[in-house]
Structure formats: C-alpha cells, structure tokens
C-alpha cells in the first residue's frame, strides 16, 4: 500500500530556501510569481491490506522521524 507524505514548514516559520528560489525565479523573469515555499515529499510503501492500520503506521513514522513537529506540518495521502 502506497502513501504520499507532504511536509511543509509551518506558517510564520522562515523558509530560507524558498526565499532564495523565489528571488532567483523573479530574476529569471518570472514576475507574476507571488510566493514559493519549499517542503519535503516522501513516497512510502508499507505491507498489509488494512488501510487504516497502514495509515496509522505512516502517521507514526511522520511523528517519530520524518517530520519536525516544532516547525513543520504534514499531510498523508493514499496513492
């Protein structure tokens, strides 16, 4: 069973990477770009047939390792 996990920086937390990427794109002429924020993405495959159990497992992985809950939010989607 496959899930995608999207990890984003919380609102109000500085995103140094997004800032530089935005400036670069604007300098390259993309002037209708309003904002860009960078995050992480994981594609996780777990064994088992029960979606809710599997999803719980993935949630545990996020909490324990993949996500820094102090500065990041996350979303899990079945794919």
């Amino acid at each position: 069973m496959k899930f995608s996990v999207t990890v984003t920086l919380k609102k109000d937390v500085l995103d140094p990477q997004g800032k530089v990427v935005k400036n670069t794109l604007v300098n390259m002429g993309m002037n209708n770009l309003k904002s860009i924020r960078q995050g992480k993405h994981f594609e996780v495959e777990v064994e088992g047939n029960d979606q809710s159990i599997a999803e719980e497992k993935v949630d545990e992985m996020c909490k324990k390792l993949l996500v820094n809950l102090i500065i990041e939010d996350y979303k899990i989607n079945k794919i």
Partner: protein, 726 residues
C-alpha cells in the same frame, strides 16, 4: 488593553518589578512598552542577578583593547593585529529544536564578532548532554552537531575545537555554548556607542518575522512540563544570508561611514536600539512602518520583540546613506533608514504616524533592576576513599574503561562533520589541546581552547573555578602559545535558589583568583541561568574560552609522540589525588569528594617554564595532564601518533592507581630528544621545577614496566568505538 497580573507574569516580570516600572514611568505602560521592559529587564539582557559578581573579575591588562561590555572582547596581538572573541550560550532553544537552536547560536556569536569589524577565523563550541542512555540524548547530539556544522560550514569559517560531555544532570537541559574568534586591524574596530544628533539609524539584513518572540524571556525562565507545548515560533537560521551580511558589513567597514553598529541578538530591535542609545547617552526614534517585514500585519509589539536572525542596526555618518545602500544592494540585502538619533534620551516608537510608545532609555538600561541575591557557601561533601575497600581491578581494565567511555572517546565522529580547514590557516585542529590558527599571510598564530569541569565545580566551586582557568591556560601553553585573555560562559541553575547562587558566587571567586594570578584577564562573556527543570538544576558549568599568541610560527607543537626512543618527562608533582577522578567515576561510580587542589604558584612556574622550553625549540611534543591522569594522557599521546611508550614504575608514590590515575594539577608530559635532554633538565632545575623522567617512546606498544602491555593500534580502536556504535 488593561495590564493584568496574568499579563505581567506571562512577560516574566515579578509584580514588584512592575510596580517599579510604573514608578519610573510615572504611569502605567501600554502593552508594547511592557513587552519592551520585559525584554530588557529579564536576566538574559539585564544580568540582574550576576552583575554584582561579574564586577569583580579582572578585565584589564597589557593586551586588552576592549573588555566586557561590548559585543565582544578585543585584544592586541602585536603589529597592527587585534583578535576579537566571545562565547555565548544557546541552551534553551537547542533543547527545543537542536538543529536550529545550535545553528542560530553559532550565527549569533558570529555576528557579535563581525559587528566589531573582525573577519571571523575560528569557531569553537562546548556542548553538554544528558546521560547517553537517556531517550533524547542521541537525537539532541545529532541535531546539535549538525546544526553547528551546518551554520559554520556554510559560512566558511572553520570549527576547530570544542568539548563534548555527558552527564545526567543535563538530561532535560542541554548546554550549547558557541565561541567565535575573529581578526581585525587594530585601528579598524567598531563599537556600538551612538554619537551625534539626527544621524540615520539603518536596518540591514533579513526581514523581520514572528520568530522567537519572547526568546530572551524564555532563556530566563525555568522549563517545566509544558514548555515543549509553549513553543514560541522557533528561529530558523539562514547562514547564507548571514554570509552576505558579513561580507556587506566588512565591505562597508573599509571606509569611515559607520558611527556605530550593533547586531540584533536576543530581544532584537529593542535591545540593539536601546544599547546604542544608552551608551551614547542619546535618544532614538524609530518609525516602525519602515521595518522590512516578512509576514503581513505585524504589530509594533511583534516587530520590537522579534528575534529574527541575521539583522543589524547601523548608525551612519551624514551623507553616507547612498554609498552604504549600494553595498547592501550588491549583496541582495534589505537596507532601510528606520529612524534617527535624538536628544530626548527616550526610545520613541512611531507607527501609523502616531507615537505608540515612549520610554526613557535609562529606565531600560542603567535603571534596570540589579539584585544582590542571597547565597550560601557550599557544604563540602567529605569522603576519604580507601582503595583497599574497593573491588580489585587491573590497571589495564581501568584504563580501557576510561578510554572507551562516552566522555573520553575520540570525537572524530563529531569533528569530521565540521569543516576545519576552510580559510587555509588551520595549523592544528580538533583532537589536540588547543587549535592553532595562522594569521592570514603572516608567520604568527593564535591558539584557542574551550574548557569546563562541571564535576569539580559541583564538588567545590572555588577550586573548580580556579581549575578551569588553569586547565585552559595549560591547553594553550602545551601548543607553545602565550595565554593572553579569556571569555567565559557561565551556565548555572536557578539563581533564586540560595545554593545555586552560592555555586555561582564561589565559582566566580575561583575564576577571579586564577585569572588575577595568571594575569589572564576576562574580556567578554555570557551568563545563562535557569538551566534546569522542576527544581532539578544542572551542575554548575562555567566554560572558559582562552586565546593565546604564538609570536613566531616555526614548528607547531602537538601532543603526538614524534620519534622513537625519545625521553618522556613528567613536569609537576604527583600526589595521587583520586577523589573526583575519572578513575573513580568510571570504574566505581564514586562521585563524592574534593577535587584536586590548585596551587597557582606551581601552575604559573610550571607553565612558564614549559613555554621557555618550547620557545627554545627543545621539545618534540607536549600534553597537559587532566581528566584520567597520567596514564590517560600518555595513551592519548600514543594513540594519536605511530609510537607507543615504555613507562617506568614510580620511585616514590607506591600505589600505582594513585600514581597513574590521580588528577593532580599543574602537570604536563613532554617528549624530549636525547640531544636536548641535558639542556631541558638544566632549565627545569634552574627554574625549581619538579620533574621526573618516566620512560621512553618505542614502536607499536604502550607499556608500563611489568604491568601492562597493549598495542597503540588497539588503544586507538578502543578509544574510537563508542561514537561509531552510538
């Protein structure tokens, strides 16, 4: 908004402090003003509990250009060169978010140094963690080390020395102290004191966000179970922007545009503007609408208390605005004139064309509270240890236990994550007593080292305080440097507790005494109180960062054995003091007793004589004897080289454990070639220095006559395994 007791408390102010504020203002403050008071009056910014003790430290000397009170201390190293350095703590933020906490700690201390006109040339750190068995220790260690590396590596400043220690009293409150050392021209040093009326006050660097609002008051409050939920917005470090800010500032500093400059550290815009005005005995007026903001709808309160990183405040000479702006634009940084100096002696804050807050500067600075907190003398835990009562062990096993322990293990797992070589002036890096950095394009160098001894300080704070200064002094001497001055970071528990305040006062007395005797002044420092949780305080952990000078860099001295069949000499007397030793701690878990005594006269004579030997080029290697005693020191010299040693049994002290593991102070091991031996002995004898010839270097094996024989390779592996398995 009505200021309630709850609001006052949330700002970390006591009710009587609030009454004091009303008296000074002759009215009630509004919320913005209250926030500003809370930022300026908290422990971190006001030093209210420590100031009366810090006053006693020796801060002057032949080499001191600027002592405590500026962003960093400045010393003269001859010619037209000055060294600017300081250490600072970032303990609480690093516990909450180890990577960003440690990274922004490094960023902060770097700004303190380049604000004064120095190009940073070295970073050091002292990091203390809880027991390795504690659940959080591993991820905290990992996060802190990568945070320190992440910031320094990106800035291109070598991280060259430090110390890493574990002890369960740091389980819930780790220590992350970072030190930066910079080089400047003596006649190009910049200060924070404002001068002149109607001068432009300029904001440069990153934009202001809602980062770490109330960070300074957080650093001044004890942790409790809820603090992890109370997380304020964590500051994220942006080393790339800091690198640009550094280059831009150093570029602007080449001419005479700057009157005064101050980084925005704890309490951001508030403390930087107040500091500049207060030193210059001026007023300052800020138009907050002009502050470059990262988020929408930021309030004056948020702008004044934000701790966004990588920002500076500059007061410019008339007519230099356009020139300065061009430089900051070249480096893609914000540059905005946000206010001016005034003659009102007030901090005046305007927003939407209205005055939103106005506070006399002196209320925030010189009239901030100062406490003479109650303190009690340390109750000494006496415990005489009789070795006969303890389980019998072999010397070899005891040594292996020490070398393989977390506190003594080889730290290359850590130091390999730091770029130690960038800037191409690192003559000697981590792994030795002190790092050596060449002054760019010259043939002189400085040596740097940071040290602490929390166990000694806990058991007897005065002796502990003296001991760290001496150990730091020794670490510089062994690489052939003349110790010039120190910076210090005083990490302690809750100062409202009499015993903790006693530890502080007594440690400081010890530091003072040693500094005075060794002519080793304190030029900068930082105090971090409230390290602890739920009434459990950390061990008293003052950290000393020292800088020494090597006038002529010819052959750098390290602690590696250099040659086969050379003579090993022990300088200093061995009494066999085992209480508070690694030997008892690692092998028997005995932690009571007094630390070894400090004899400052011996320290001075032994150290100065060793310097003489090094100056005359008479020795091959040198290492000071500290934790773990003689045998540990000898094994370190062997492990780091291709040679072993054959050591004789002592002639006088018959108990081998006392002789080999005792932690008596003021001792060094030196390696001397045959053809220099008589000269060395003569100099030591002439100086009335006690020494013993204890053995010779040999190939392959580390050996004590008849008692122990182990290959140096094996020793190295034993010493190397802990981190790699952690």
């Amino acid at each position: 908004m009505k200021i309630t007791n709850k609001i006052i408390e949330n700002h970390g102010l006591k009710l009587d402090e609030y009454e004091n504020i009303k008296k000074l203002l002759k009215r009630e403050p509004n919320l913005l003003e209250l926030g500003i008071f809370s930022a300026m009056w908290n422990e971190h910014c006001s030093y209210k509990s420590s100031r009366i003790h810090l006053k006693n430290l020796p801060t002057k000397g032949k080499h001191v250009i600027q002592g405590p009170g500026e962003n960093a201390g400045v010393i003269d190293i001859g010619d037209d060169d000055a060294i600017i350095f300081k250490i600072e703590s970032h303990n609480h933020p690093s516990y909450i978010e180890p990577y960003q906490g440690a990274a922004t700690g490094v960023g902060g201390i770097l700004r303190d140094v380049f604000t004064m006109g120095a190009r940073p040339i070295a970073l050091l750190n002292s990091i203390h963690f809880g027991s390795p068995k504690h659940l959080k220790t591993k991820s905290l260690l990992n996060g802190v080390v990568s945070g320190i590396g992440g910031y320094g590596n990106c800035m291109g400043i070598p991280t060259v020395a430090g110390e890493t220690k574990f002890n369960e009293t740091y389980n819930e409150n780790i220590l992350v102290n970072a030190m930066a050392v910079g080089h400047a021209k003596k006649d190009k040093i910049f200060y924070s004191k404002a001068k002149g009326l109607n001068k432009s006050v300029v904001y440069v660097g990153s934009k202001t966000g809602r980062d770490g609002i109330h960070g300074a008051s957080m650093a001044s409050a004890e942790f409790d179970e809820n603090s992890e939920e109370k997380k304020p917005t964590v500051q994220v470090g942006d080393p790339f922007t800091e690198k640009l800010l550094m280059e831009a500032c150093l570029e602007l500093m080449k001419d005479n545009s700057i009157i005064s400059i101050q980084d925005m550290g704890a309490a951001g815009l508030t403390s930087s503007s107040v500091e500049m005005a207060s030193k210059g005995e001026l007023g300052i007026e800020l138009e907050l609408d002009k502050i470059p903001c990262r988020e929408e709808n930021m309030t004056p309160y948020e702008m004044m208390l934000s701790e966004s990183q990588e920002r500076m405040l500059i007061i410019l000479e008339d007519g230099k605005e356009a020139h300065a702006k061009k430089i900051f634009e070249k480096w893609d940084l914000d540059f905005v004139i946000i206010g001016k100096t005034t003659n009102t002696n007030n901090l005046t804050l305007k927003f939407n064309k209205k005055v939103q807050g106005e506070i006399p500067i002196e209320c925030l600075a010189s009239k901030a509270p100062i406490y003479n907190r109650k303190w009690t003398k340390k109750n000494i835990q006496k415990r005489k240890i009789n070795l006969k009562d303890l389980k019998k062990i072999k010397i070899e096993d005891a040594l292996i236990k020490i070398l393989s322990s977390p506190n003594h293990s080889n730290k290359s797992w850590i130091t390999n994550q730091y770029d130690q070589n960038v800037m191409c002036d690192t003559v000697q890096k981590s792994g030795s007593d002190a790092a050596i950095l060449r002054i760019h394009n010259k043939d002189k160098a400085i040596a740097v080292s940071v040290d602490s001894s929390a166990n000694y300080c806990k058991s007897h704070p005065i002796t502990g305080g003296k001991q760290i200064v001496c150990e730091n002094w020794r670490n510089l001497i062994t690489v052939g440097a003349k110790p010039l001055a120190i910076t210090n970071c005083l990490n302690f528990g809750n100062p409202e507790n009499k015993e903790i305040m006693g530890e502080f006062a007594e440690c400081l007395n010890g530091i003072k005494e040693a500094c005075e005797f060794l002519n080793y002044p304190v030029v900068s420092g930082n105090v971090s109180f409230y390290n602890g949780t739920n009434k459990k305080n950390i061990y008293p952990t003052p950290v000393i960062g020292g800088v020494g000078l090597i006038k002529k860099l010819s052959k750098p001295i390290s602690h590696k054995f250099k040659k086969n069949k050379s003579n090993i000499i022990l300088i200093g007397k061995t009494f066999g003091h085992l209480e508070q030793s690694c030997f008892l701690r690692e092998n028997y878990s005995i932690i009571e007793g007094m630390p070894p005594e400090i004899n400052l006269l011996n320290e001075k004579n032994n150290g100065e004589s060793l310097l003489k030997l090094i100056d005359k080029d008479l020795i091959l290697s040198a290492h000071d004897i500290s934790n773990g005693g003689l045998i540990t020191t000898l094994s370190e010299m062997a492990m780091s080289s291709n040679f072993g040693a054959k050591i004789l049994k002592p002639k006088k002290l018959t108990n081998l454990f006392k002789y080999f593991f005792g932690e008596d102070q003021a001792r060094y091991i030196i390696e001397v070639e045959n053809n220099c031996l008589s000269k060395v002995k003569k100099i030591l004898a002439d100086g009335n220095i006690y020494f013993e010839e204890i053995g010779v270097t040999q190939e392959d094996n580390f050996e004590i006559d008849g008692d122990l024989k182990i290959s140096t390779k094996e020793l190295f592996e034993i010493n190397n395994q802990w981190y790699n398995n952690f």
